[in-house]
């Protein structure tokens, strides 16, 4: 693949910074009592979402998880709708029904982000089947965590996806932990083998990519996307990354070996891209502008009305 044009790389840089700032903002407003429930933040994982989603067309579908803020923002969700959803407001992307775990915009092809581990994997496979059956130049992009690779739904879906050549690309965001447990403590693998190796069980294409390098992620997903729409089957991509924060709001991350977080921060995805394109000097200004956008959106979101029970009742069933 040839390197993406500079303008594209600049957009990705902006998106990654926006995600970073938005996530920090979520934490800030959480502490102010504006966010009900819990949140699962993604600081550190920006490149995996931005790179992968950068390789998609507007028609492609996305399946995400409860740790899905970065996907929503990388896909271009309106910032106010994003914050309003997390605050449970009627002005939220899902009218306040979903909250932090379920921030999706179907008009952007985001069709779900379940809280149940692994549940999205078969769903993405099904969406990819729709594309295949209709002969469309379209895929389903499916994000999930390292921990999700141990549940039955992963196995069942990958088998059928490969069997039926579903137009789906699977992306494991391996952020090294499932909740508080390092992935190798819960995931039996040959010594040193990556999780993506499991695709070989189904004869499925697979690849490991540096999840902190947005260009590398983009390349890999673009290749996998091309393979899928060509009818050559799905790919299991493992993007190796790290979450800077704990699993959820209440987790201080005490289980991490000393120095691990710092080592990963030295390979910060924003830093890597910025220096790669010589934009280190612009970061400050970019951040300032985006921070203002974020702050304003969050402020507007906090003014949003609450939904009513009658509205909620209407969302259960389609006509």
């Amino acid at each position: 693949m040839t390197a993406p044009p500079d303008a594209v790389l600049r957009t990705w840089l902006e998106q990654m910074i926006l995600i970073r700032l938005a996530e920090d903002k979520v934490m800030e407003i959480y502490m102010q009592g504006l966010v009900p429930g819990t949140v699962h933040l993604c600081q550190g994982q920006e490149a995996a979402s931005v790179g992968a989603i950068g390789a998609l067309t507007g028609d492609d579908w996305l399946l995400c998880t409860y740790r899905g803020h970065h996907h929503a923002l990388a896909r271009g969700m309106d910032l106010e709708a994003f914050f309003a959803e997390i605050m449970g407001r009627d002005s939220g992307a899902c009218r306040g029904m979903g909250g932090s775990s379920y921030v999706v915009d179907a008009s952007l092809g985001m069709i779900g982000s379940p809280a149940i581990i692994g549940a999205g994997i078969p769903v993405a496979t099904g969406a990819g089947m729709t594309a295949r059956l209709r002969g469309e130049d379209r895929i389903a992009m499916c994000f999930f965590g390292d921990g999700a690779c141990n549940i039955g739904a992963f196995h069942e879906a990958l088998n059928m996806a490969q069997l039926w050549r579903s137009q789906v690309v699977f992306c494991i965001e391996n952020n090294q932990y499932g909740e508080y447990t390092p992935f190798r403590d819960s995931t039996a693998l040959p010594p040193e083998a990556p999780i993506a190796h499991r695709a070989a069980a189904y004869g499925m294409a697979h690849a490991v990519v540096d999840g902190q390098d947005v260009i590398a992620v983009h390349d890999m997903v673009a290749q996998a996307r091309a393979r899928a729409v060509a009818g050559d089957g799905p790919t299991l991509i493992e993007a190796q990354t790290y979450r800077y924060r704990g699993h959820s709001r209440t987790d201080p991350g005490a289980y991490r070996p000393p120095g691990e977080l710092d080592a990963w921060k030295e390979r910060d995805p924003i830093g890597i891209l910025a220096s790669g394109i010589g934009a280190d000097g612009d970061l400050e200004a970019l951040r300032e502008r985006l921070q203002q956008e974020v702050d304003e959106a969050a402020d507007r979101a906090a003014e949003g009305p609450w939904p009513t029970l009658d509205q909620a009742r209407d969302y259960v069933f389609a006509d």
């Binding site: 999706v104 769903v123 099904g126 729709t130 059956l133 389903a140 069942e156 879906a157 088998n159 209407d314």
Partner: protein, 340 residues
């Protein structure tokens, strides 16, 4: 073509009715739904090339092709999740689960995903998936292949649940489910597969969602029943008619939404209620019907009765299975007891 069946208790057939087996009615519903709407497609184990373990899809693979009828691996949770993905993107899949007892392997997809995604999205998406399962005892299949399963989803709000009490019901409920824009689980009963009854087909023969059917009108007692128990209740009603007791039999047809209007109207006239259910009482739709009537202060002349399964698991041994599943005699006895 018109004909009649003499199976006991089958309601008078319209003149344009064919007589078909219950299983064939299921197959015809699938066939007609696929013909009417090319987004309808089928997923299940051995349903394509082989025509289905219960022969409910015979000929459909040949007629509609490999892109509409899928032989799946043994992976119920996976293919019900796949159906959700298809439905969210514009298709209308029908999954066949074979025995109801296999549903628990797919509870996450069916009970926790299918009915909740639309809601969580604030109404942005919808999930028109039909899940079919064949349940019920009498086949001497033992504890893991004899449950009706009909009430397993009642506590999982968001799913609609249909139960087929006759060939016409099997056809109409399944077609209604497939046409419906929300997830529906449709149960049929294995012991009825070869039972015949009148059937009128057509796009105007879809059952109304949430509407119970009066399978036999009567004035003295109301029996509310599902699946095979509809048939056994009709048998009981016939016997009781000889004793001067006129029984109204309601084929409940939908467990969610539950048609309390039809039930309450009937009970309002008869003042007497018997539930006939091939399931345990606690946690079942029968208890829900009785509780709803009780909290609504429905004017019953005598306390209601429920004919349910005794609290034992289902054995492979024939005399025990027969003792577990409510018989026409047990139902008739319950009716007599509320008439005393």
């Amino acid at each position: 073509m018109s004909s009649r069946t003499d199976a006991p208790g089958v309601a008078a057939a319209p003149d344009n009715a064919d007589v078909v087996t219950y299983r064939e009615a299921i197959r015809l519903a699938l066939d007609d739904a696929m013909a009417a709407d090319d987004t309808v497609l089928l997923l299940g184990e051995d349903i394509a090339k082989a025509g289905g373990p219960f022969k409910t899809t015979v000929g459909l693979y040949d007629k509609y092709g490999a892109d509409r009828v899928f032989d799946t691996p043994i992976a119920e949770n996976g293919f019900c999740g796949i159906a959700l993905g298809m439905a969210l993107t514009g298709l209308r899949p029908v999954t066949e689960i074979m025995f109801s007892d296999f549903l628990p392997t797919a509870f996450d997809a069916i009970a926790m995903e299918l009915p909740r995604w639309r809601f969580m999205s604030g109404g942005q998406t919808s999930a028109p998936v039909t899940v079919r399962a064949s349940g019920g005892g009498g086949g001497r299949f033992g504890a893991q292949t004899s449950s009706t399963g009909e009430s397993w989803f009642l506590q999982f709000y968001g799913l609609k649940v249909a139960v087929a009490g006759s060939p016409q019901g099997a056809y109409g409920l399944l077609r209604a489910a497939i046409a419906h824009n929300n997830p529906v689980v449709v149960f049929d009963h294995k012991a009825m597969h070869l039972r015949k009854g009148p059937l009128v087909r057509g796009d105007d023969r879809l059952a109304e969602v949430g509407k119970a059917v009066v399978a036999r009108p009567g004035t003295d007692v109301t029996i509310v029943a599902s699946l095979l128990m509809v048939h056994r209740s009709l048998e009981a009603a016939e016997a009781l008619a000889g004793e001067g007791i006129e029984v109204e039999v309601i084929d409940i047809s939908w467990l969610r939404p539950l048609d309390m209007e039809t039930v309450a109207a009937s009970v309002g006239r008869t003042g007497r209620l018997v539930i006939a259910e091939e399931q345990y009482h606690d946690g079942g739709w029968g208890a829900s019907v009785i509780s709803r009537l009780a909290t609504a202060a429905a004017p019953l002349a005598v306390p209601p009765a429920a004919v349910s399964m005794p609290e034992i698991l289902i054995s492979h041994s024939p005399p025990l299975e027969d003792a577990m599943i409510p018989s026409a005699e047990r139902i008739a006895d319950a009716v007599r007891s509320v008439c005393r």
